[in-house]
């Protein structure tokens, strides 16, 4: 478990980035951290693997205080996938790239080889094993970066804006992959502003605004509240906005997912159909 205990962080320039953050993260959790640009999402993420140490409060990873452990050691358990894959890629082949973390953690060569191939296959990158990562497309490079972090099988995975620039199919694949990961007992944290993706994946949502947590709850309850969503410079999901116009028909106000919307509408519309048939 990762615990953030009244964490505050102030930059050297004096600017306050985080105030009083309390958070618990366990295996099996799927959390989305959302908020406007500059709300502190990435700053918060960097506290989880020790890149940043809190100015006040403390961060415990499996009982250890992050101020007492090196980033390298914490990275064995906490995998942070940065937004832009180009900040990571440097190797001659995709294989070498994915092996980098494993080598840093001191695994034996046979283990490294096996683990690299396993990860590449899981992410559909096996055919590119001997290719230079720089020759791949943007979406493929993002997957290589993800593979590089997953190869060391961290217990906690943090994804920084994984859906930017991806088309719908790529997002679907990502969603399924995340589902696999947290059902295997890992903790997955996603930093994102992709409201529709969150609406369809239904994680626990933590809304950050100006360094504070302003809301915490399931996606359908947080994303359907207009004042909260506006504060975080987000927009309510289409389903939520649609159902705001339909409340007079007795529909609930916290619908964000298309499939739940369908079920609710099917019920009502079937009634209407029956009524129309009776009247004619």
């Amino acid at each position: 478990m990762i615990t953030l205990d009244k964490v505050s962080y102030t930059y050297r320039s004096g600017q306050r980035a985080l105030t009083d953050i309390d958070l618990n993260l366990e295996g099996g959790d799927f959390i989305a951290i959302m908020g406007e640009n500059g709300a502190g999402k990435t700053t918060l993420a960097k506290h989880l693997n020790g890149l940043l140490k809190p100015s006040q409060g403390r961060v415990l990873v499996d009982g250890e205080d992050t101020r007492k452990v090196s980033v390298a050691k914490l990275s064995r358990k906490v995998g942070l996938v940065f937004q832009n894959p180009d900040h990571l890629l440097f190797s001659e082949t995709v294989k070498d790239e994915v092996a980098f973390g494993l080598k840093n953690f001191g695994f034996a060569p046979e283990v490294v080889e096996k683990q690299v191939m396993r990860t590449l296959e899981a992410l559909g990158l096996a055919e590119y094993a001997e290719t230079s990562p720089f020759l791949l497309s943007g979406g493929e490079r993002k997957r290589v970066a993800l593979a590089a972090i997953l190869a060391t099988e961290p217990d906690y995975l943090i994804l920084d804006e994984p859906t930017i620039g991806q088309d719908y199919q790529q997002k679907e694949r990502l969603r399924n992959f995340i589902l696999q990961l947290y059902s295997q007992g890992k903790a997955v944290v996603m930093i994102t502003h992709d409201v529709e993706f969150v609406a369809e994946s239904n994680p626990m949502v933590i809304l950050l605004s100006q360094g504070r947590i302003v809301a915490r709850g399931p996606a359908d309850s947080v994303l359907s509240k207009d004042e909260l969503v506006k504060k975080a410079s987000l927009v309510r999901p289409q389903m939520s906005r649609l159902f705001s116009e339909l409340t007079k028909y007795g529909f609930p106000s916290d619908v964000v997912d298309v499939h739940r919307a369908r079920i609710l509408l099917e019920e009502k519309l079937s009634e209407v159909k029956v009524r129309v048939a009776q009247n004619s």
């Binding site: 406007e36 640009n37 500059g38 497309s137 943007g138 979406g139 930017i164 620039g165 991806q166 088309d167 719908y168 199919q169 790529q170 679907e172 502003h193 409201v195 529709e196 506006k230 410079s233 987000l234 927009v235 999901p237 289409q238 389903m239 906005r241 649609l242 116009e245 339909l246 028909y249 298309v258 919307a261 369908r262 509408l265 099917e266 009502k268 519309l269 079937s270 209407v272 159909k273 009524r275 129309v276």
Partner: protein
């Protein structure tokens, strides 16, 4: 417009293959775009949308080398015979990454950059810069440096820089990818407002249709370098929904909802493209 809208972009059998590529990025493109249209260009990753855009302002074939086939006329100019610098007067291009478009050390100097290249008089440049700043709301930012701006501000400055060239067409290639949803909506609305005010033709490349559906009247869908659908947004979503879904295009959730309900025979009528029309249509169904 008093006169009938003229054809501002005309593509005949347009094709292009980058140097060293295994296959063509775009092929057999036949396209007619009229003045003042708002066009949504979409398709799965790698379908050729960006390559097509690059042809429109001459980046292909001037900046990107390769093999060109067919003809492309933009505002009367043939792209293959003009330098990008000449085409830049007719076609403006706003890129995906807000920060990498801004070159100068202050916003004002950056917006002036384009007109300066045209060799205009200093008064003319001054006038264009002031107009562009006013119309995009970037006047308060004029002495700031690019890295001091937020993503949304950067995109507005990029837009201002493009407007200062007084083009007749503006191409925006996934301009909101890095922006949060609220800012993305503002940028899209601002783009449409400018289109109406200045009579511009707009081409937006987007994966997420819901952002643009309120403004785009026409949709062009590409796959594997070819155009696979081209028509009104409503009609295409209505008749070719399965094609779009199959390609992995991010159809608006309300359109998906309606299609599912229609398949079950619970609603009838055209597929709505955005929340307001979907609400209206559903209310119509409920009130029967």
């Amino acid at each position: 417009m008093a006169h009938a809208p003229r054809e501002i972009i005309l593509a005949k059998n347009l094709g292009f293959q980058y140097v060293g590529a295994r296959k063509a990025a775009i092929q057999e493109i036949e396209l007619t775009i009229k003045e003042n249209e708002f066009i949504l260009l979409t398709g799965p990753s790698g379908c050729g949308k960006t390559s097509l855009c690059r042809c429109l302002n001459g980046l292909i074939p001037n900046f990107y080398q390769g093999e060109w086939t067919g003809e492309l006329l933009v505002d009367g100019l043939s792209v293959t015979t003009q330098l990008t610098s000449e085409l830049s007067r007719r076609v403006g291009y706003v890129f995906q990454n807000p920060e990498n478009q801004l070159f100068a050390l202050t916003v004002e100097k950056d917006i002036a950059f384009g007109p300066e290249n045209l060799g205009l008089s200093r008064q003319e440049i001054r006038q264009r810069v002031d107009e562009a700043m006013n119309v995009t709301g970037t006047l308060p930012l004029k002495d700031l440096a690019p890295y001091e701006l937020s993503g949304g501000q950067q995109q507005r400055v990029a837009l201002a820089g493009v407007l200062a060239m007084k083009p007749s067409v503006i191409v925006l290639d996934e301009p909101t990818s890095f922006l949060d949803p609220r800012t993305a909506e503002e940028v899209m609305k601002a783009t449409d407002d400018l289109r109406r005010e200045l009579g511009l033709t707009i081409v937006v490349v987007e994966h997420r249709l819901d952002l643009v559906a309120r403004y785009a009247e026409r949709i062009i869908v590409m796959d594997g370098g070819k155009v696979v659908a081209d028509g009104g947004l409503e009609e295409t979503l209505d008749e070719k929904f399965d094609l779009l879904e199959g390609l992995g295009v991010g159809v608006p959730r309300v359109s998906l909802l309606w299609t599912m309900l229609r398949r079950d025979g619970l609603v009838s009528g055209k597929v709505p493209t955005h929340v307001e029309s979907a609400a209206a249509s559903l209310q119509g169904m409920m009130n029967q």
